[in-house]
């Protein structure tokens, strides 16, 4: 009989209707969609902002790691014709003519980014020592007005007779290149165009990635060792005392990274306090003070100090929730303090431990400022190499390739963090 009572609010299909005659299901879907849109709209300005200020810049940088148009910018015609070359012997006369004319035009126009110098720099990455071959030859080429261009070019410098150079030029005039990733992984092209490992004396990147990972792991491990007891203490003390002590953790957290780095320079340098104290106590003599900074030791000490709060805070927030009665129960059932800790307490702190470990590790592998200031020569991390290529050597594509690899490592860890801990668990203080 209830069916009859709802009769007015139903359509032929037997669906419930709202007051304005729309099926309830549909109406609900509309309302939900609207609510979803409203929520999304609130976040939209920020998302748009971040896309412009953050996502596009990084995307563009990723693109730069595989895209380098120096070759085809300078040699537009040659870039097309050389692709038909079978890499046997030397390219054809037509290709040589294109090359010479492109070079002459580039020298005449001197457009920023499209000069012979840009091409020379690009080729020089792949075949070191060829820069001046291009710049010098281009000066002499201005006198060459007619063919045969092959002979003319080889007369200027017989290095142009080397097929390896032309194979490199064929590669370089393609805009999309894997070269910078090869270089970032300590590989290179040999003169036949095959991929081979770089000479051991010139390998720096892979070992630096490992060093960065190793140092970050060491630093993370030390922060765990230091943070665990302190967090435990903080979580067991009465609220008033632990709040007081928390200030000792939060003050460093709030203090400028540069201030803290400066402080460690003041303390650890050879004429600094740490050495003064060691000399005063008599552990070392005044004339053989210990080198504690401008090396890996300095980097580790300063970074542990800077990252320690990032380990303490998540550990503390997890430990706070563990009732002390569990441990007492274990003890009363006959467990030794160590067993009780290992079997009861430690497993419950694992979420906090995972959060802190991943966070500290992620932050550590991207560190730049502290290693740059106190790292000396052996304390430099991958970030410093990236900065070096962006700011000093100007091999921007290589810097971008190194950056992309670092970014991938970080994003994998970030994803893991999200899976294991959840990004919404992140908090400060």
């Amino acid at each position: 009989m209830t069916d009859v009572a709802f009769k007015d609010q139903m359509n032929e299909a037997g669906e419930l209707l709202t007051a304005d005659g729309v099926p309830l299901k549909q109406k609900l879907a509309i309302t939900t969609r609207r609510a979803r849109m409203r929520a999304l709209l609130l976040t939209a300005p920020l998302i748009i902002f971040l896309v412009v200020s953050f996502v596009i810049p990084i995307g563009q940088m990723l693109f730069r790691s595989v895209y380098n148009a120096a070759g085809s910018n300078v040699l537009p015609n040659f870039a097309v014709s050389i692709q038909d070359w079978d890499e046997q012997g030397l390219p054809t006369e037509q290709m040589f003519e294109d090359f010479v004319k492109d070079m002459q035009l580039a020298r005449k126009n001197r457009i920023t980014g499209k000069t012979v110098g840009n091409l020379a720099t690009r080729v020089n990455y792949e075949i070191p020592g060829t820069r001046s071959l291009f710049t010098k030859s281009s000066r002499k080429l201005s006198k060459v007005t007619e063919g045969p261009y092959k002979e003319a070019l080889i007369k200027i410098d017989k290095k142009w007779n080397d097929p390896g150079l032309w194979i490199a030029l064929k590669r370089v005039t393609k805009d999309i290149t894997p070269y910078f990733y090869l270089a970032a992984l300590d590989y290179k092209y040999d003169e036949k165009g095959d991929i081979v490992a770089a000479d051991e004396l010139y390998q720096i990147y892979v070992s630096n990635f490992w060093k960065t990972l190793r140092l970050s792991a060491t630093i993370t491990f030390i922060t765990i060792l230091l943070a665990y007891p302190v967090s435990y203490l903080l979580s067991t003390l009465p609220l008033r005392t632990s709040n007081m002590l928390m200030i000792l953790v939060l003050l460093p957290f709030w203090t400028s990274l540069l201030v803290r780095t400066t402080a460690w320079i003041a303390i650890l340098q050879t004429e600094g306090m740490a050495n003064d104290i060691l000399v005063f106590i008599g552990i070392i003599g005044d004339d053989n003070r210990v080198q504690m900074i401008y090396n890996q030791t300095g980097t580790i000490i300063a970074m542990v100090h800077i990252l320690l709060p990032f380990m303490i805070l998540p550990l503390f927030s997890v430990m706070k929730t563990i009732p002390p009665s569990y441990m007492r129960a274990a003890r009363s059932m006959g467990a030794t303090p160590f067993t009780a800790f290992r079997r009861i307490y430690l497993p419950q702190t694992l979420p906090g431990l995972a959060a802190g470990t991943l966070l500290v590790f992620i932050l550590a592998i991207g560190f730049y400022i502290t290693p740059a200031l106190v790292g000396g020569e052996d304390g430099l991390l991958i970030s410093n190499l990236i900065a070096y290529h962006i700011q000093k050597s100007l091999n921007w594509s290589l810097g971008a390739a190194l950056g992309t690899i670092l970014l991938i490592i970080v994003l994998v860890l970030y994803w893991l963090y999200n899976k294991l801990v959840g990004i919404d668990k992140l908090s400060f203080g």
């Binding site: 609510a35 979803r36 409203r38 929520a39 999304l40 976040t43 300005p45 920020l46 998302i47 902002f49 971040l50 200020s53 953050f54 596009i56 810049p57 990084i58 940088m61 230091l226 007891p229 302190v230 003390l237 005392t241 000792l248 939060l250 003050l251 460093p252 709030w254 203090t255 400028s256 540069l258 201030v259 803290r260 400066t262 402080a263 460690w264 320079i265 003041a266 303390i267 340098q269 004429e271 600094g272 100090h305 991207g366 560190f367 730049y368 400022i369 200031l373 970030s383 990236i386 900065a387 700011q391 950056g403 670092l406 970080v410 970030y414 999200n418 990004i423 919404d424 400060f428 203080g429």
Partner: protein, 346 residues
């Protein structure tokens, strides 16, 4: 600098600094000693009567270790304060300082903050002040830092709060993906962010401008605002919104009268985080700022690299004082927030 040429205004500024720092400095020494020797006893929880001697010894060892770790955390920050009053251009305590010889202490590095870069540090009156305001390097850096941090904070807080309001709605779609995106500026290594911005901002003409630096700092401050504001909103009782609507309030009124007062502590602490992030940020500044936009951390960075002098320590001490003030503010806000939320739960 010639000792006899010190101006009264140097002294006013410097004495103020001295008073603050002697207080904090001496307090820190006392606190340090108390910690090192007294705290293990002080923290000692009452051990259960069945505790063995081994456990008692372990308890004492454990507390000593903890004390040492606290000393490790705090001492570098406090030590630079007395060091910044060194009369000598060194980074360590001189004999005279240890013996509390007044001559071994001086304010010369604080003066240097004011006068370094001035065209005519010997001028008097208004000329001196305007010269300092216009030309002293640290003053210029300070002005830049505050301007950039202020604008970046306002932007990050308004955009971030809005987004956090959206994120905390139960019907928010793709919540975790979007949160991950919004938090990512904190996770992506700064060098990568700065490099990307350097290329892109150069292309669109924003490199070497205040706009570029502000954009960068806003981006870096956003995750902090998102985290703190969503944390406040997570304890937010949504029935309050319905109650307000029930009583006839429209969306804006509900926001201003109900939501805003409750999330304000979260917003302010998010804003403070964003502010301090900008004040501390140097990598993006290195990559995308010009000398014109030089900030305090940038100035410190080149100072440390090129000609390290205790002026850096003096600046660092002032920054520590600022962080103490900010930390106190945050702590008070947190308590207020807890109180408010405690009320809403009751």
């Amino acid at each position: 600098m010639d000792r006899s040429k010190i101006k009264p205004k140097h002294l006013i500024f410097a004495t103020a600094c001295l008073i603050v720092f002697l207080l904090t400095g001496s307090a820190s020494v006392v606190i340090g000693f108390v910690f090192l020797f007294g705290t293990p006893m002080f923290f000692m929880n009452e051990l259960p009567p069945y505790a063995t001697i081994g456990e008692r010894v372990w308890q004492y060892v454990y507390l000593t270790i903890c004390t040492l770790i606290f000393v490790f955390l705090i001492s570098p920050i406090l030590i630079i304060i007395p060091l910044s009053f060194n009369a000598e251009p060194y980074f360590s305590f001189t004999e005279g300082m240890i013996n509390f010889d007044p001559a071994a202490y001086s304010l010369r590095w604080y003066e240097d903050i004011l006068t370094n870069g001035m065209q005519n540090p010997l001028a008097t009156g208004a000329a001196w002040w305007s010269d300092m305001w216009e030309n002293a390097q640290w003053i210029l850096a300070t002005r830049n830092s505050f301007f950039i941090a202020f604008v970046a904070t306002v932007l990050a807080t308004s955009l971030g709060t809005l987004a956090a309001l959206g994120l905390s709605r139960p019907e928010m779609p793709y919540r975790s993906a979007i949160t991950s995106l919004l938090i990512s500026p904190m996770i992506v290594p700064l060098v990568i962010t700065a490099t990307g911005m350097f290329f892109f901002y150069s292309d669109i003409g924003l490199a070497k401008t205040y706009t570029g630096v502000i954009l960068a700092h806003t981006t870096l401050g956003i995750p902090f605002v998102i985290i703190t504001v969503t944390a406040t909103l997570s304890g937010f009782d949504r029935s309050l919104i319905r109650a307000s609507q029930n009583m006839g309030a429209n969306g804006w009124t509900t926001f201003y009268k109900v939501i805003m007062p409750l999330i304000l502590p979260g917003m302010i602490s998010g804003a403070l985080f964003a502010f301090i992030t900008s004040m501390d940020e140097v990598v993006a500044v290195i990559f995308i700022a010009d000398v014109e936009q030089r900030t305090i951390p940038r100035q410190m960075f080149s100072g440390i690299r090129e000609q390290i002098s205790p002026t850096i320590l003096a600046v660092a001490s002032i920054l520590v004082a600022i962080s103490i003030v900010l930390l106190t503010t945050i702590e008070l806000l947190r308590r207020r927030s807890e109180k408010l939320r405690g009320l809403s739960q009751a």
